[in-house]
């Protein structure tokens, strides 16, 4: 060794931040040297995204500091973060769809408002992409690119913003939307970047990718650092991330399935190819798959297609609104299931508002019944944080989902469609949701669960279908690696 030890590339010390009095980050400390790929791990709600926003200057910490190569990073300014050499690739790409690659790079990495030299930018884009062994067409419109290409554009854009001097590149859940091949191609590029001296912060909860990529990790739980150092074994990592909450496992059916409740026969269109499957009473059929492989058209068809999809005992026009027969837990509860400004009372009666006993046959509402119904459901389903008159928007995500589940499941519908029902929920709330689905199945419902999280899906699924590229295949077993392979498009083993 000669000379003084250089300061760490990035140092986070005592960083805290709370929202509405609830701490999101609580005294977070860690350091990462130059030229490594470092993993930052944690469950949803562990504080990862808040930490990222602080590093990128979108959010100012309440206490503590961030230093890059020993120099304080002024908080609350993305421009200052960019000047300090920090680049950021957001999970939801910050690309304008109807502009070209070069225009997006000028937008995201350029300065000022004046004239632009597209040819020079295009050359730099090619140059930066070339260093990572990528080819990117600077003139392509973003809308015409696939997800993997878009991510490359994002990464190149972030590097361009650093003008070739990017010291820290932050990747927020970079593999959530990628196919396995795309992940395989991303990983060497990140390693090449690190070899060139850039520190890569890899935020993820996908342990097998962390194992391939990150020699060191920081693990967050409930806003605190619970581990910082060389990457532990997988079981240890899981325990550190999840804590001592027992995982929900083994909620499988004991009785054999009954009559068919949902039949899909040769469904085509909207990117789907010849889909066929059946869901019977008393079973949970789970559809696994990476988002964007045909989930949306499949759901639309199940709710509205009268030809390829049949629901024995339920007329197609009654699929929507007829919650005595079909319970629907849609993907986006705030946008698709709840009317946020309305009270819980109104939200809980929605769909039944024309039916006895909530309205007379003339459509006159019996609001007293509404109230009693709401009070009953709120107690039965353990909704906290509000009464019948509370607007739905005042509840937490977990309690909002409980309201949706209460409304959709309390009539014991024969068929339940649930789409990513635990999205954005913490572990305890997720477990509640999965248990509610299992209980409905045990009571005789047919459940179709379309879910992005394989672990949770395996906990309740009796049969697993895999959706990839608009085609569906039945998994031969519930074995994790086989299903993961199918999700990524590998041929049947």
């Amino acid at each position: 060794m000669n000379g003084p030890v250089p300061p760490p590339r990035i140092a986070v010390a005592g960083v805290s931040k709370s929202y509405a009095g609830i701490p999101a980050l609580d005294g977070v400390d860690f350091q990462v040297p130059a030229g490594v790929v470092h993993g930052i791990l944690g469950e949803n709600g562990a504080g990862k995204s808040t930490l990222m926003k602080i590093l990128y200057g979108l959010v100012r910490p309440e206490s503590g500091y961030v230093r890059v190569d020993g120099v304080d990073l002024p908080g609350g300014s993305p421009a200052a973060a960019a000047r300090a050499g920090i680049g950021m690739v957001h999970q939801h790409f910050a690309l304008v769809d109807d502009l070209t690659v070069v225009d997006n790079c000028i937008l995201g990495a350029g300065r000022g408002l004046g004239l632009v030299d597209r040819a020079a930018w295009a050359a730099r884009i090619r140059q930066f992409a070339g260093r990572l062994q990528w080819t990117i067409d600077p003139q392509a419109r973003i809308a015409d690119l696939g997800v993997g290409q878009r991510q490359r554009v994002e990464i190149v854009k972030a590097l361009l913003a650093g003008g070739g001097q990017t010291r820290v590149l932050i990747l927020d859940e970079p593999t959530a939307v990628l196919t396995p091949q795309e992940v395989d191609e991303l990983i060497p590029a990140l390693e090449a970047l690190a070899a060139g001296g850039t520190t890569v912060l890899f935020i993820s909860h996908k342990l097998h990718e962390v194992e391939r990529l990150c020699p060191t990790v920081t693990i967050l739980r409930r806003g605190r650092v619970v581990y910082d150092g060389p990457r532990p074994e997988r079981d240890a990592m899981t325990r550190l991330m999840v804590g001592e909450v027992p995982p929900v496992l083994g909620l499988h059916a004991t009785a054999s399935p009954g009559e068919s409740r949902l039949e899909v026969r040769n469904l085509e269109g909207g990117g789907l190819h010849d889909l066929s499957f059946t869901v019977r009473a008393g079973e949970v059929v789970a559809v696994a798959g990476v988002d964007g492989n045909g989930q949306e058209p499949l759901i639309r068809a199940i709710l509205r297609d009268a030809r390829a999809v049949t629901t024995p005992g339920l007329a197609p026009e009654d699929r929507l609104g007829g919650i005595r027969r079909l319970g629907l837990i849609p993907d986006d509860r705030q946008h698709e299931a709840l009317v946020l400004p309305l009270s819980l009372r109104d939200n809980l009666v929605l769909k039944e508002h024309r039916r006895f006993p909530f309205a007379t046959s003339w459509g006159w509402l019996r609001l007293g019944r509404w109230r009693a119904h709401a009070v009953d459901l709120l107690t039965r389903y353990g909704v906290r944080g509000g009464g019948p008159d509370t607007p739905a928007q005042d509840l937490s995500g977990g309690n909002q989902q409980k309201v949706v589940i209460a409304r959709e499941l309390h009539r014991n519908p024969g068929l339940i469609i649930a789409v990513n029902p635990t999205r954005g929920l913490d572990l305890a709330a997720s477990a509640d949701v999965l248990r509610a689905l299992a209980a409905a199945r045990d009571a005789g419902a047919a459940v179709l669960l379309i879910h992005h999280d394989l672990e949770e899906l395996l906990a309740v699924a009796d049969r697993v279908l895999v959706l990839f590229g608009g085609r569906i295949r039945e998994a031969p077993s519930r074995e994790r690696s086989a299903i993961a392979g199918l999700m990524l498009g590998s041929p049947t083993p």
């Binding site: 709710l303 007829g322 009317v339 400004p341 309305l342 109104d346 024309r354 459509g363 509402l365």
Partner: protein, 336 residues
């Protein structure tokens, strides 16, 4: 908790009205008027006698009806800013009916029906252009407002013109075909109690019927409404037609009971109705005080002009300020 949630927002429009009025008074004080005298003049003009009260109610009636019209559509997420055109078409259709049919007790009611129908049709035209030709409702409605004003002008100078004068105005509705005044010396007709009844009815529909609940749900979140099995499109169509009919009705009653003729001069009850609906926070009963406030400003403005030489248009400024304040206080947030 309930008090904080429901009472406080209901007070915002009143606060906004007072603030807007205060703004005008402050301005007038600055240029040398005595605020006390300004207020007293307004009060005498509004409530100085039973006759004055009757005129106040008479002036508020078309505003309440067009307010209900705008409110019905807005609540359902249909931004019908075409109430002005629908009002004008209602008025001119009613006038045509009144002039064409032999006068009888039934005449004004037939005219009201025709006016409501014309308003609904004019709104259907705008709505149809949006639905089937992709012209945003806001644009189609607002352009049809201008067209309606010109069509009215043409009819008033053409087929409906009063042959005894060169002025651009229509013939007079025969006395026997007019809607009778409830209070001698005013034009306060059955239209006023009917408008209040319609407000109460709107409120009951909104609060107590499945249809009203569906309107509210669609207005706040059409996607959730659709997934809840509500026929979103047909409900919106219904709201648009109802809205146009109410605006047309306002015009018809005005011709049959108040003006008895039409001229090409600018009117603005339809535009003002949108402001009334917003100031009433889209609550049908809230629109009653809102309509009275606006009518009060119109009357006071005229009194100020006559007695103090203050331009009556200041009333319009107060209206705009009140609406802007209600909006700024967080009401009617833009949707995603």
């Amino acid at each position: 908790m309930i008090a904080a949630r429901t009472v406080w927002p209901a007070l915002i429009p009143f606060a906004a009205a007072v603030a807007a009025l205060g703004l005008i008074l402050a301005g007038l004080t600055l240029v040398g008027y005595a605020p006390g005298e300004v207020l007293a003049t307004a009060w005498r003009g509004l409530a100085g006698s039973p006759l004055r009260l009757g005129i106040w109610a008479q002036e508020a009636t078309p505003l309440l009806l067009t307010g209900l019209a705008a409110g019905l559509a807005f609540r359902c997420g249909v931004l019908n800013v075409g109430t002005e055109g629908q009002y004008l078409m209602g008025a001119v259709t009613a006038l045509a009916v009144l002039l064409a049919l032999p006068p009888s007790v039934l005449s004004p009611w037939l005219a009201a029906l025709a006016g409501a129908g014309a308003g609904a049709l004019w709104c259907a035209l705008a709505y149809g252009l949006d639905r089937w030709r992709g012209v945003p409702l806001v644009l189609s409605a607002i352009l049809l407002n201008v067209v309606a004003a010109r069509v009215l002008g043409a009819l008033v100078e053409g087929p409906l013109h009063d042959p005894t004068t060169a002025a651009p105005q229509s013939a007079l509705v025969p006395e026997a075909a007019r809607l009778g005044a409830l209070l001698p010396g005013t034009a306060l007709t059955l239209a006023a109690p009917l408008a209040v009844a319609l407000a109460v009815a709107s409120w009951l529909v909104q609060r107590q019927t499945a249809l009203g609940f569906e309107f509210t749900v669609i207005g706040l979140n059409p996607v959730a409404g659709d997934l809840a099995g509500i026929p979103v499109e047909s409900r919106r169509r219904l709201a648009a037609l109802g809205s146009g009919a109410l605006a047309g009705l306002a015009g018809a009653f005005q011709v049959a009971g108040v003006t008895w003729f039409l001229s090409g001069d600018a009117q603005s009850y339809g535009y003002a109705g949108i402001a009334v609906a917003l100031l009433g926070r889209l609550h049908p009963l809230g629109m009653i005080p809102a309509a009275l406030f606006f009518a009060g400003l119109d009357i006071s403005g005229r009194q100020w002009e006559r007695r103090l030489g203050i331009p009556h248009d200041l009333g319009d400024v107060a209206k705009g300020a009140a609406v802007a304040l209600v909006l700024a206080a967080g009401f009617f947030r833009g949707r995603r």
